[in-house]
């Protein structure tokens, strides 16, 4: 059992740190949930990609560095420690790309991944529907066979990044009558500017258009944009959902950096003793999350699947993120109410954590039934 990175991994860290020191914008970019900020963040993705830092864990052929899981963790630590911008390409990079690596065709990977790596094409996730949140099996948007592809109808909602993104991916019901509701779903990629697509931005709690409704009216999706076999969408998407909750959506680097900033804030406010325990818990939680990830990475490198422990992870980071930001806002006192600060933006973002990527209630059920072996019951 050790915590020492290999000299090669340390050299990778040094290289990443030097690049970030030279390139991270001195003035923070405007929020990526605004039109102006979206453009600035897209340009930042291109800058990252120019030196192959946008997708370090991908194969070099698609713009990555073939860095393993441990180096990805190292990169993320350096990335957030450097105060680098939020990643507007993250939905595609962390949700769609792993699915394409596992289930896509070579043609799809060659066509979709390079422009995703450069930020030229920003992807939105289109999982949820008005009648289907965490219960994706109740999706009703339809895909009907047509010449050379599919005609898609229905509505997707709460679609992250969709207000300004280029393309989207999601599940559609292609077989109306199946014995079980999660059968007969097909995984599709589609253009948000295709004829028949209407995007209506939705303001989140702070009014910023962080997500959107997507209305689909006879939208044509060519066969080349079907991922895997038609009707197998559920199984294909679930492998990505495990990923989303698991290691790759919220890296420890993000929380280590946030905890450091919180300690700075606390010291800057005279280290008030009434907040000491909460600040300490933020430091402890970030370290716990980092070490949990190291242990999970070691098991993964030994060939073990990540599996239902990703549900533990999701409950942990989402609750942690809120507690950390609440502590910061309380430390700020009256200034905690101001909406135009990084802490306030982070707080509003964190509030969604226990809801998306499978609600924490669903995750707790998974922990209880699959990790603890408790009997299934009515939800």
């Amino acid at each position: 059992m050790d915590l020492t990175h290999s000299p090669a991994d340390e050299a990778f860290r040094t290289e990443a740190r030097a690049w970030l020191a030279a390139h991270v914008p001195a003035v923070p970019l405007p929020s990526l949930e605004t039109e102006e900020g979206f453009g600035a963040h897209r340009a930042w993705e291109a800058e990252l990609a120019a030196d192959r830092w946008s997708v370090v864990s991908w194969p070099a052929a698609y713009g990555g560095r073939d860095a393993g899981l441990l180096r990805w963790l190292v990169f993320e630590e350096e990335y957030y420690a450097a105060g680098a911008p939020g990643r507007v390409g993250q939905n595609g990079i962390s949700l769609l790309a792993p699915t394409l690596f596992d289930h896509g065709t070579e043609e799809q990977r060659a066509r979709v991944l390079p422009p995703m790596a450069t930020g030229e094409v920003i992807w939105a996730q289109a999982w949820s529907e008005p009648g289907a949140g965490s219960d994706l099996a109740s999706l009703t948007s339809k895909a009907v066979r047509t010449e050379g592809g599919w005609l898609v109808n229905g509505q997707k909602t709460w679609s992250s990044r969709a207000a300004f993104a280029d393309r989207a991916f999601g599940l559609f019901r292609s077989e109306p009558r199946t014995p079980k509701p999660h059968q007969g779903l097909t995984y599709l990629m589609f253009d948000l500017r295709a004829p028949g697509v209407t995007v209506r931005p939705i303001g989140r709690l702070d009014g910023k258009p962080a997500f959107a409704d997507i209305f689909l009216d006879d939208v044509f999706v060519p066969d080349e944009d079907v991922i895997g076999e038609p009707g197998q969408g559920w199984r294909i998407a679930m492998s990505a959902a495990g990923n989303e909750r698991g290691l790759t959506l919220r890296s420890p680097g993000r929380f280590l950096a946030a905890a450091d900033r919180l300690v700075e804030l606390w010291r800057g406010r005279g280290s008030p003793s009434q907040e000491r325990e909460r600040v300490a818990d933020a430091v402890i939680g970030a370290r716990a999350y980092q070490l949990f990830a190291y242990a999970a990475a070691a098991r993964f490198l030994d060939g073990e699947p990540i599996g239902p422990e990703s549900s533990l992870n999701k409950v942990f980071w989402s609750e942690y993120d809120i507690a950390l930001h609440e502590t910061a806002l309380d430390l700020l006192g009256r200034d905690g109410e101001l909406a135009d600060t990084d802490w306030a933006e982070g707080y509003v973002f964190a509030l969604a954590g226990p809801i998306y990527a499978g609600t924490n209630e669903i995750q707790r059920d998974i922990v209880a039934e699959r990790l603890l072996g408790l009997p299934k019951g009515r939800r």
Binding site: M1, R276, E277, V283, I284, L291, Y294, R364, A368, L374
Partner: protein, 319 residues
């Protein structure tokens, strides 16, 4: 970087688990001094204290990760006696600038012939110990015994006070030795929490109310899922602290493991209902230990303060 236990460390845990299961610790706790002493000798012979004793003094240490592995098992089985305090005594003696006391006392401690405890100010289970070290005014003493034996909330522990006088064995107290006590306590607490969770999962799977197992209720599941989450995120903190032995890491591990164990104890009691609220039911031995370990060798508040302190004060200087 390979942050996983080795196959040997996992085997060590399994063999300790088998031995302690056979030893039936609940009946030992309810038995007399002789039964406790016999169990204490067996765990020492199994190599529980050897990782805390340097090789020069007939131990196998320092091997803090192995120590943590062993103490998780002691916690899982609610092993009574001054187990953490024996580790602390070893760490104190091994760290003294003068080798005399270590040469005299450590081999017996590693081999399981000598039960030791440390008064700072209380000496846990001093009435059962052969060696009572006492921290007094920044000095380390070998006390002539203990007085004032009082019961603990945990029936597996007794609180005693070292007698005055005895032999002064060092004019300094090596503060970092107390990190070993915190580390061992954190490991023991994690084990206590894991046992409470296991027992509660078993209980709610069998216990039928309203015609179904109580474990099929979502309210029950979610409490247990939260307990599992807290314990599984305390575990890497514990082993990370064992790897680095950095005071801040040890303090973080102690706070997290004790909080997780205590929260699990509250959940375990609630989900057992009145059955859990009885001394005759074995669960009580773990429930009360979770409470006792929480404040042993640094309360959660003290540990959290140390996490934020640039210069972590040793427990000895506070004592």
């Amino acid at each position: 970087m390979r942050f996983l236990l080795s196959p040997q460390q996992r085997d060590f845990a399994r063999s300790l688990d088998a031995m302690l299961t056979a030893a039936d610790t609940p009946s030992v706790i309810r038995g007399d001094h002789t039964a406790r002493r016999a169990l204490w000798s067996r765990i020492a012979e199994a190599g529980v204290f050897a990782p805390a004793v340097p090789e020069a003094y007939e131990g196998m240490g320092p091997l803090p990760v192995d120590l943590a592995v062993a103490f998780v098992e002691l916690g899982r089985h609610a092993v009574p006696g001054p187990v953490v305090e024996t580790v602390l005594a070893a760490a104190l003696l091994a760290a003294l600038p003068e080798p005399g006391p270590a040469k005299r006392l450590l081999p017996g401690l590693a081999a399981g012939e000598t039960v030791a405890t440390v008064g700072a100010p209380y000496a846990l289970d001093g009435d059962a110990a052969d060696v009572v070290l006492a921290v007094r005014g920044g000095e380390l003493w070998l006390a002539p015994g203990v007085a004032d034996v009082r019961p603990s909330l945990d029936p597996g522990r007794r609180i005693t006070t070292p007698l005055p006088g005895g032999e002064r064995i060092s004019s300094r107290v090596p503060g970092h030795a107390f990190d070993w006590a915190r580390l061992a306590t954190a490991a023991q607490a994690l084990g206590v929490g894991l046992a409470l969770l296991d027992r509660t999962v078993t209980h709610v799977t069998r216990r039928v109310q309203f015609g179904v197992p109580t474990g099929s209720f979502q309210a029950v599941k979610h409490r247990l899922a939260d307990a599992k989450t807290a314990l599984e995120f305390a575990r890497p903190l514990l082993f990370g602290a064992a790897v680095t032995l950095a005071p801040r890491d040890v303090a973080a591990a102690k706070a997290a493991a004790c909080e997780a164990a205590y929260a699990t104890a509250r959940t375990a009691l609630q989900l057992h209902g009145a059955i859990g609220y009885t001394a005759e039911y074995d669960l009580s031995l773990w429930l009360t230990k979770a409470r006792a370990l929480r404040t042993a060798w640094g309360s959660p508040a003290e540990c959290r303060a140390d996490v934020l302190s640039a210069d972590v004060l040793s427990a000895a200087r506070r004592a």
